[in-house]
Amino acid sequence: MYQISQDRLVAAIKKLNHHYPIVLPIQKDTEYSLKFFGVDAWVDNQWKISPIRTPQPLKSFFYPPKQNVTKYPQSEKQVEKLQSLVIIGSKACDINALKIIDKVYREGDYPDPYYLRAREKNIIIASDCLDAGKFCACTLMNSLPYPEKDFDLNLSAADENILIEVGSEQGEKLLKDFFGDIKKASEAQLAQRDKNRQSVIEKLKEINREFQYFQSHQEAIERHLKSKEWKELSKTCVECGICTQICPTCYCFLLFDQPSEKRYERIKVWDSCFFAGYSRMAGGLTPRLGLADRFKHRFYHKFDSFVTNFGVEACTGCGRCSEGCMGNIDLRKVLQELEKKVVLLEKIELS
């Protein structure tokens, strides 16, 4: 564990930027405009660890919303090299989400070469959360507001300085090459970091006090496979699909082809299970035609079938879906309602 002053951290980032493109969250005016920007958008020479995750999910740097995946006919059948991108300030919920997507895009029989390439090349300089947002729920989803692994470097706040934890060989090398002479962190600084972390956990507990689950979400959803409850739960959904777009673990996509110069190109775009066209087949048959069915599918996939197939839930509690929802649908509440109904059902069955 090392320590560095704010000024020297900023200098190191600038130095890094001579070698790598960089994105990092820059706070503008309100919390809500906290976004990942390239370092050139950052003008005031100040950079601080952002309090919580950005609205923009980290996944967009690993599989962009729209990507040209091939040209045909007669073109390079292999995927080209990619320059490393350094992503600074990523939070645990986003990093855990990449581990979830890895199960599909990286560890299956057909790894996506573009995702694989980005996973191998991109450098993640993560950071602790220094606060908790209203919708933040990592602690409800078996996770924590700071990353424990799967980063190259991690930044934590302690007194005036920033602590740097090394998470990989690559991180070690970055530290040596770009951060100059740096000191080891003191015991007091470590204690301060732990105290900060604990206070964010306490805050998260407070925010989520009303949400207590007694059962696995999978069990609750299994009991509702044929339930009418989904209709009520999805009542205010306007089918905008934002929950899936900003979700750090949603990975569905669609391929389409279009002419390009004298050939054709194949484009991969993010898709959403909230759109009826998502599963529409020739002849018009759509397996999940009704909104309630599509709504159910999202929860079923994240908390039930993903667990069946990969042993983990496809949610890291980042809270973006609840925050972005125009219909004020809160994922935590949906899960709670489902559970309440199961408890009711069980009571009825018992009596």
Partner: protein, 284 residues
């Protein structure tokens, strides 16, 4: 097709799984007014199992999943039989000998032929659904001594919509193979059976204790065939359905083709009914 790369590669010489292999159309056979068979000549042989499917690219139009209808034992050419159903399949029907298309695959698991050995196999097709089943039939016929009986029941909307008519006589001549077809509506000249394909499932004489049923066709037909098979005594475990869902990637990563936790593109498209029966959207 050049072998798809598995697992992580350290260097960036990664095979592009989205790239379609250019393939010549050798011939186009008109099966019915709405169904055509493309005879393709892939630049390299594409080994596949009966029931596995390909992603077919029509240049500039896009891709859609189709199951080869030719024999897994004849790889010099590959036949794909396609119903005109919309945007991409309209373009398929415009193709001529000499045109180029693209192929990715094969994808999916295919039929569990090992399980079928020593059994009586009831093959039930509806409309263009006989196309994927023809690959299976070709495989069964190639090893006919391994199976006790192959019984084919086929239904189409009207006599002109019966595909592969040129082959029925050959099929009927095979030992332990029987073939029966029916149409929903006769056209006057038709002297065969009129009625839904489910009616052919009433008295099959099949040994229920030693058989499997396999079906492919429109979703509504699959539903009624399944109900009929159950009512005549088949157990869910004995029924394999070749299911359709919208697919984009074919490789289990784009998300949409699931029935419950099963993704048809990698766990199917031929599914044991016992596995999927509890899911509410199994028949659309």
């Amino acid at each position: 097709m050049e072998k798809m790369l598995k697992k992580t590669s350290q260097e960036y010489k990664m095979e592009n799984i989205y790239y379609p292999l250019e393939t010549k159309v050798l011939d186009v056979i008109t099966e019915t007014p709405t169904i055509k068979t493309l005879v393709l000549k892939p630049p390299v042989e594409i080994p596949f199992k009966a029931g596995q499917f390909m992603q077919l690219t029509i240049f500039g139009v896009g891709e859609a999943p189709f199951t080869p209808s030719s024999s897994p034992y004849h790889l010099e050419t590959m036949e794909i039989t396609i119903l005109k159903a919309g945007h991409l399949t309209e373009a398929v029907h415009q193709l001529k000998a000499g045109d180029n298309v693209g192929l990715r695959g094969p994808f999916g698991k295919g039929f569990p032929l090992e399980k079928f050995e020593g059994k009586e196999i009831l093959v039930v097709g509806g409309g263009v659904g006989l196309a994927p089943l023809r690959a299976l039939l070709n495989d069964l016929f190639h090893n006919l001594n391994k199976y006790k009986r192959v019984s084919i029941k086929y239904g189409a909307r009207n006599p002109s919509e019966l595909s592969f008519q040129r082959q029925y006589d050959d099929w009927k001549k095979l030992l332990h193979v029987d073939f029966e077809c029916t149409v929903d509506r006769s056209d006057g000249k038709w002297s065969g059976k009129v009625g839904l394909v489910t009616e052919l499932l009433e008295n099959t004489g099949i040994d229920l204790n030693n058989s499997y049923a396999v079906s492919c066709g429109p979703e509504i037909m699959l539903k009624f065939v399944t109900l009929k098979l159950l009512s005549v005594g088949f157990k869910p475990e004995q029924i394999y359905l070749s299911m359709n869902r919208k697919m984009s990637c074919g490789m289990g990563i784009c998300g949409r083709c699931n029935i419950g936790p099963y993704y048809l593109c990698k766990d199917g498209p031929d599914m044991n009914y016992a596995k999927i029966q509890k899911y509410p959207d199994v028949f659309g």
